[in-house]
Amino acid sequence: MAVLTYREALNRAMTEEMEKDPNIFLMGEEVGHYEGAYKVSQGMLAKFGERRIIDTPISENGFAGVGIGAAMVGLRPIIEFMTWNFSLVAIDQIINSAAKMNYMSAGQFPIPIVFRGAGGAGGRLGAQHSQSFESWYAHIPGLKVLAPYTPSDAYGLLKTSIRDNNPTIFIESEVLYGSKGEVPEGEFSIPMGKSDIKREGTQLTIISWSRALMYVLPAAEKLAKEGISVEVLDLRSIRPLDEEGILASVRKTNRALIVEEGWNVAGFGAQVAYLIQKEAFDYLDSPVERITQEDVPMPYAANLEKSSLPSEEKIIKKVREMIK
């Protein structure tokens, strides 16, 4: 098995798909000559040329719309947002055009497009460059929302997203681009709506995704040493949601904790908690709990940033309370 970084896995997925289908192109700020602000598209301009690897001006609303228009007539664009923070100026296009076009046109105009880029909390980037929008996009019927944690998942899910005939919100973590992981040789894809048990356990399920797993997995290790057996479920796919996977795990462990980097109010974890109480209420030995980012814009100061985010310590403390 090859060991790839998260960014290499994404690059491989896009490159392989583009080799197969001339309708696919990659468009965004600095994706071409600069080879990607986070170097995700390294080498792709040399391979595919300027016709298919297209640098844009700083103009998210404009090029998101261009991608959607192109998808209306059968092209399959991959639109990179340098970060998801900048997608907010394109959110009208994503919601009002991409998500609804197939419905409004009664199936005449499906929009096979991938919006992808760096998201989540970053290293002291401050309030405007360090935030998670999974909940925002997951709210919208017509969109699919993915947030992979491992290079292998990033590869397999990006392939699926590119092949999907619907608009996909593919949120990468900028902290994870350099992380390494084993990616199976040969081509494969991962279906949407299928969570992955990243760690087996019996006493409590932690449901999480993307960078938050960086805190969850080591916390689970430490708890294991205390004799507390935690199962870790990586959603990977926020919408569609693997309801069966979540419920199966919670029915086994009887406790659920949701850990996310997004804000608490109306966060996606609240939806997961609703699902669990509705469908697995009788199995619960303690209330469903959540750990989220604190309800503040991200501060710059290192200590405050750290304290605002989920952490190993917060997770360990919460799990101990729940197991008592």
Partner: protein, 326 residues
């Protein structure tokens, strides 16, 4: 524009007049149905602007694309979309052009390259640039024509779409139908320029400005822009000055403008102009009256069809939220 001289020119104008008259009668019927509560939501009528849509769209080929606004009935009819299916859509019936999923603001017809009916002011401009982008990507020789109002010329999507179309030399013709009011806001309170097309200078692209009361003149000017786009010489920004005789939508009594102003513009009614030209060219009034009767019958039939059609089955509620993966 001078009056038609040859028989061919006269017949050509007659066909354009027929299309304009169909729009006028269709809209009058929809206004009536709206008043009777048979049409819901917003209903933005095109009455008064017919020469723009008919003239511009008649400059296109079948392979070309049209992107429209929330005021899309006229554009759709000019493109030849079926009046019955459009009226049924207004009535929210399963036989509607988008099966009752869209309503007045969201007509789509893939077979006619009619790319919507978009409800967010100016949001569709970058979509149009994207469709034109795809034509350039594929080299299919098609041109995209995008309509918008002067109100849309102040939104970011307009400027971003224009800039992208300009730097990539996209086969796009942008037509600002300036009817002088963005809902109730007159242009002088919202626009930094008197003629939207001068903004073309900011993007170093071609521009044109005309009055939109003569249908053949509109076509002639739009044709120049379409040909320029087809030759690969990039986009054109046009302003076609026009006027809506009704309010912004059916719910707007248009009290922000005077009766005198409305009357002045009604003198320039594009249908009356075309009718006069046809009569001067020797066409008989009876022929025109007969044409009107045929159109009225078509419209009545479309209302009847819409009325008798069934509502979409409840089982269709979730249909088309997601496209199938095949």
């Amino acid at each position: 524009m001078s009056q038609p001289k040859t028989k061919k020119e006269t017949e050509d104008l007659l066909e354009l007049y027929r299309q304009m008259l169909l729009i006028r009668r269709f809209e009058e019927a929809s206004a009536k149905a709206y008043s009777m509560g048979k049409i819901g939501g917003f209903c933005h009528l095109y009455i008064g602007q017919e020469a723009v849509g008919v003239g511009a769209i008649s400059a296109l080929e079948q392979k070309d694309y049209i992107v429209s606004t929330y005021r899309d009935h006229g554009h759709a009819l000019a493109r030849g979309l079926e009046p019955k299916a459009l009226m049924a859509e207004l009535f929210g019936k399963r036989t509607g052009i988008v099966h009752g999923n869209g309503g007045s603001m969201h007509f789509f017809d893939k077979n006619k390259n009619f790319m919507g009916g978009h409800g967010i002011v100016g949001g569709h401009i970058s979509l149009a640039a994207g469709i034109a982008y795809a034509s350039k990507y594929r080299g299919d020789g098609a041109v995209t024509l995008c309509f918008f109002g002067e109100g849309a010329a102040n939104i970011g999507s307009f400027h971003e779409g224009m800039n992208l179309a300009a730097i990539w030399k996209l086969p796009l013709v942008m037509i600002c139908e300036n009817n002088h009011y963005a809902m109730g806001t007159p242009e002088y309170r919202a626009l930094s320029v008197k003629d939207v097309s001068v903004r073309a200078a900011a993007y170093d692209i071609a521009r044109d400005h005309i009055e939109g009361d003569e249908v053949r003149k509109v076509r002639e000017h739009v044709r120049v822009a379409v040909e320029r786009a087809r030759r690969g010489e990039g986009p054109t920004l046009m302003e076609i000055s026009t006027y809506r005789f009704r309010g912004h939508s059916m719910s707007d009594p248009a009290k922000y403008r005077t009766k005198e102003e409305l009357e002045k513009y009604k003198q320039g009614d594009p249908l009356i102009k075309a009718e006069k030209d046809l009569l001067s060219a020797g066409w008989a009034q009876e022929e025109l009256t007969k044409m009107d009767e045929i159109i009225l019958k078509t419209v009545e039939e479309s209302v009847d069809f819409a009325e008798k059609s069934e509502e979409p089955p409840l089982g269709w509620l979730y249909k088309h939220v997601y496209a199938e993966n095949v």
